[in-house]
Subunit: 142 residues, 2 copies
DNA sequence: GTGAATGCAAATTCTTTGCACGAGC
DNA sequence: GCTCGTGCAAAGAATTTGCATTCAC
């Protein structure tokens, strides 16, 4: 179980307003409530937070996810489909396998792929600072 | 050297209008003219095609790249930065290493990573139909 | 000739911003 | 009181779409 976003904010000196607390809480509870597959977009997040505090505006949600992203608290993903989707950054890095039929998202870690990526960057004289690996697949009938 | 887009259209039964021919030609010549790093967005493509035929509208460019993408002729990439960027699909699959300082794009192939990706999908009971691997790096001073 | 493609401008969608008001120190 | 955050609505940017006209076959 990962550290609450609220605590991370305090650790990083991000000021916590009431609105930010609600957004932090909703994102902290995301996977516990909706499963590992949960990567809400801003609209979905807005729906969830306004159930707790109906006065929060969508602009604040946009501003807050951007703030959290810059603070290294949330990760932004541009999966196929146009809108940006967010998840809390966890200690352990992982990549995504996306079911193109159902939209389900499976998170996985593959140390060997990680190592090879560094090797590739190295080969071209680069230091790897970030990467994105998304697999798109269909369930095999078995 | 890869097959011209125009020929691919004929092979796939995609109707060729004058506008589509111009767009096909510009995308076919993309890497030869602008280097391996070339992955134009729609705006850039629009600039290039209107130099050949100034009457082509941006809507046609959008419609055409979507059409070509659906026909498996162009690949669409959502690199960081908001706008979609395109390149011709070549026989040999490759991934991208992006220089986050200069924006340069290096294309690379790593068979081992490819294999591991299939293995991961397999492990979760999926058949891999597509994937996206992007490395973001900074040049090492050496 | 007929259905599909185009150009234009308006509409959509996602996201950002200007500004006046409000909250916290 | 001052600074910064928020809400609202308007602005922006990228992309799509409705419709009348034109084009490809």
């Amino acid at each position: 179980m990962s550290q609450s976003i609220e605590k991370k904010c305090i650790a990083k000196g991000v000021k916590l307003t009431e609105q930010r607390k609600v957004i932090a809480r909703v994102m902290s509870e995301s996977k516990e409530t909706y499963g590992e597959s949960d990567h809400p977009d801003v609209d979905e997040l807005y729906n969830r937070v306004t159930k707790i505090d109906p006065k929060i505006s969508i602009a604040t949600v946009y501003r807050t996810v951007k703030l959290f992203e810059e603070a290294g608290i949330l990760a932004k993903h541009d999966f196929k489909g146009g809108k940006a989707r967010y998840e809390q950054i966890s200690e352990s890095h992982h990549d995504h396998l996306i079911d193109i039929k159902s939209g389900d998202i499976i998170e996985f870690v593959d140390e060997e792929i990680e190592k090879l990526q560094k090797k590739v960057a190295d080969k071209y004289g680069y230091e790897l600072v970030d990467h994105k690996l998304e697999l798109y697949g269909v369930k095999k009938k078995s």
